[in-house]
Symmetry: C2
Subunit: 199 residues, 2 copies
């Protein structure tokens, strides 16, 4: 059976990175998709592990060749998901976790309707602002932009399948694990099973 593509998305500061790292520890068989980006690597980020850091020209060529499952221009930097590795791993029967922003998730919804979209939500806007400030990588102006953006992104949540409020990382991870287990039991997936004892 083909694996499930699980998209973990939500506003900047919702805790996507922390939750996805903890999720991968809970589910070692699951593959965390690596995104491509044109932005500069932050301290500690490793090429091919955290991101594929590629040039703007290379990124645009990949878009033209339709090699990107989704892509977005975020504050002038390109982010995207190379399609080939995701398809290959799903066809091996392994699940793939995609950590992407809201723009990207909505493109996935169109390109892969069978994907499972999880909206990771901070418990409140107050907490979202606290997390963005604690991160220490953004100016006040950028934090203001991100909060405005989060307000707008929230309107997209009805396009998602699930909403997980990230008040505690462990609790959020448990809920996402349950979503994956439940999705594998959904009738629509069962109908495709060769192992259905009744057909």
């Amino acid at each position: 059976m083909r694996g499930i593509l699980v998209v973990i998305s939500g506003p900047s500061g919702a805790g996507k990175g922390t939750v996805c790292r903890a999720l991968i520890k809970s589910l070692p068989d699951v593959h965390l998709s690596v995104s491509a980006t044109t932005r500069q690597a932050r301290a500690g980020e490793i090429d091919h592990v955290h991101y594929y850091f590629i040039t703007r020209t290379e990124f645009q060529e990949r878009i033209a060749r339709r090699e990107m499952l989704e892509w977005a221009d975020v504050y002038g930097d390109f982010y995207g998901t190379p399609r080939e590795p995701v398809d290959r791993i799903l066809n091996q029967g392994r699940d793939v976790i995609l950590e992407i922003d809201v723009q990207g998730a909505l493109q996935i919804r169109e390109q892969m309707p069978e994907a499972v979209l999880v909206f990771l939500s901070p418990p409140s806007f107050t907490e979202l602002e606290r997390r963005l400030r604690k991160r220490g990588t953004d100016t006040d102006e950028r934090i203001g932009q991100r909060l405005d953006w989060a307000h707008r992104e929230l309107r997209s949540f009805p396009s998602y399948d699930y909403v997980v409020i990230n008040d505690r990382v462990e609790a959020a991870v448990e809920k996402i694990v349950a979503v994956i287990v439940a999705e594998k039991c959904r009738t629509k997936r069962f109908q495709l099973l060769d192992s259905n004892p009744y057909t």
Copy 2:
């Protein structure tokens, strides 16, 4: 938030009773709905605990008063679910587990579209027959009828939300617990939440 009505259904011999008893132990807050029936109590069955054992006349009066959420005539015996206790407990925010046959589950699908329907399936027909014989309560003829019935009931599984294959009770229970956790995260339920931080 209103609780979730989880219907555990499937052919006779799928292991509904065993799985539901184990499920209630895992989730002590969940309420197991008690069915009404006109059949004779089996050894060890207690009135008001395992079933409400009522007369045929009383059952028919309740149907006429629309006090049954679902009911079925199974081999000449009536089985049904009184509506009032289910509604009351759901409105208290508690989840309710209903262990019923396939005819009943399909009526629930119509009467409560928001219910979560789980089709509990034996791993194979060979195993189903083995379980029915092991139970020791049925004649060969009745076992044959139950197997024929199971073949027909299988055609209903696309009306269910989830399929759980009961090869090991513990594994089946874990999957149903995951289904309940995941269903509480579904976007459609989240939209009804007063605690949505973004509205």
